[in-house]
Amino acid sequence: MNTLPTTARRYLGELEAALTGVPAAQRAAILDDIRAHIADATEDGRNIDDTLAGLGAPATVAQEARDELGLARGAEPATAAARTLTWGAVALALLTSAFVAFILPTSLEFADQGSPGQPLTTETLLGQFGVGAAFLTLIPAALAVLPLVVPKQIRVLTAWIAAVATTVLVVVTGVDLGGFYAPVALMLWAAALVPAWIRRGGKVATAHAWRVVGAAAMLLPAVLVLGGLVTGTLQDPTPAFWIVAIVVLALGVLFALRVRFVDSLVALCGLVLMGIGVLDAGILILAFWWAGGIWFVAGFAALAARAPLGLARAAARMPGEK
């Protein structure tokens, strides 16, 4: 409809974006009707701004559509997913800060000879550098919380900025403690990407592609360990090792296949892996932390993305056009 003025086309664009979660047939019908409404009103000589004002804000119309069709009440799906994932990033950042400041030894140099896995210093960041340094560990949490506190209009932009800023921070300080914040950066990318995907219509094909990427990232550590077995770097695997390896591979494949309940299980496994890293991994601490982080973010992001899709599917199907 190129004959429509720019303001009208912008209105329809915003409405289309806001109608996420509404089944395709109803979404198309509402958009068609409102496009025709605007064209008819303009033909009748009505002022375009008055016509658009009379229709109400796109977000309001979209919310009414969701209410009428018995879809998600309350928050709009993209916003809800963004909020869930951003809160996940904040929680992860706080957890990481607590770990980095209070538990982790500041020096990760390990004795090459003698007793492996025994750090040379057991002093924590808080003990060695004081409260000021401990506060510095909260910077990623502050970045993660930004998208939740800024005004609504710049929330989407801020989500991307937070993801980029945290990634830069992780890369720049990666050799020191920054590397432990990599899962936080990953979660912030999910908090920007998942809502963007929902706003663009939540295409199932794209979701499958992302799942496969997630599964590949999840399986990477396991593949590396198995590679170590083949090349002889890692020797004499125990039966327990084989059980864990098989469970991990199976979970990865089930995750890629979008089997129900696997998402929560994957997120939970991620937390357990990170916990093992903290408690009992010796020099492999960062490897466990990253592997666990990837699992946690993949599972959590899949859960956050799944909710609006499920609601859309549950909606009544529309009878065909007569």
Binding site: G54, G56, E68, L69, A316, R317
Partner: protein, 116 residues
């Protein structure tokens, strides 16, 4: 009857309209088929809705529920238009509403008079 309402009156009116709008749409369509803007203008003129945009999500639901259906009118000149028509199920629903309404309205009127 229509004068400028206070915000409290506006809130009450909004709640009541919300409950009756779909039946008013059915009632208009029971008289004659109509396209979107016609319906919107009639409802606005009667002050039955405050926002024209509310009509289209409502029509989508009525259609999904099989209470109305649509047909395309393709004139020789000009744009094709989607007309809404009431179905048999829609007419039945309108009769149900009409029955309920005719019992509620006198009772509300009576109780208000007893009150004052």
């Amino acid at each position: 009857m229509i004068r400028n309402m206070t915000s409290e009156e506006e809130r009450i009116a909004t709640n009541i309209r919300k409950g009756v709008l779909e039946f008013c749409v059915l009632a208009v369509l029971a008289r004659r088929e109509a396209y979107g803007l016609e319906l919107a203008q009639e409802l606005m003129a009667r002050h039955l809705t405050a926002s024209e945009g509310s009509l289209y999500p409502l029509l989508a639901r009525l259609r999904a529920a099989g209470l109305v259906e649509t047909r395309w009118d393709t004139p020789d000149a000009g744009r094709p238009r989607r007309y809404y028509t009431i179905t048999e199920a829609g007419s039945q629903q309108l009769r149900n509403f009409s029955h309920v309404w005719s019992t509620i309205v006198p009772q509300v009127g009576a109780v208000l008079q007893e009150d004052s």
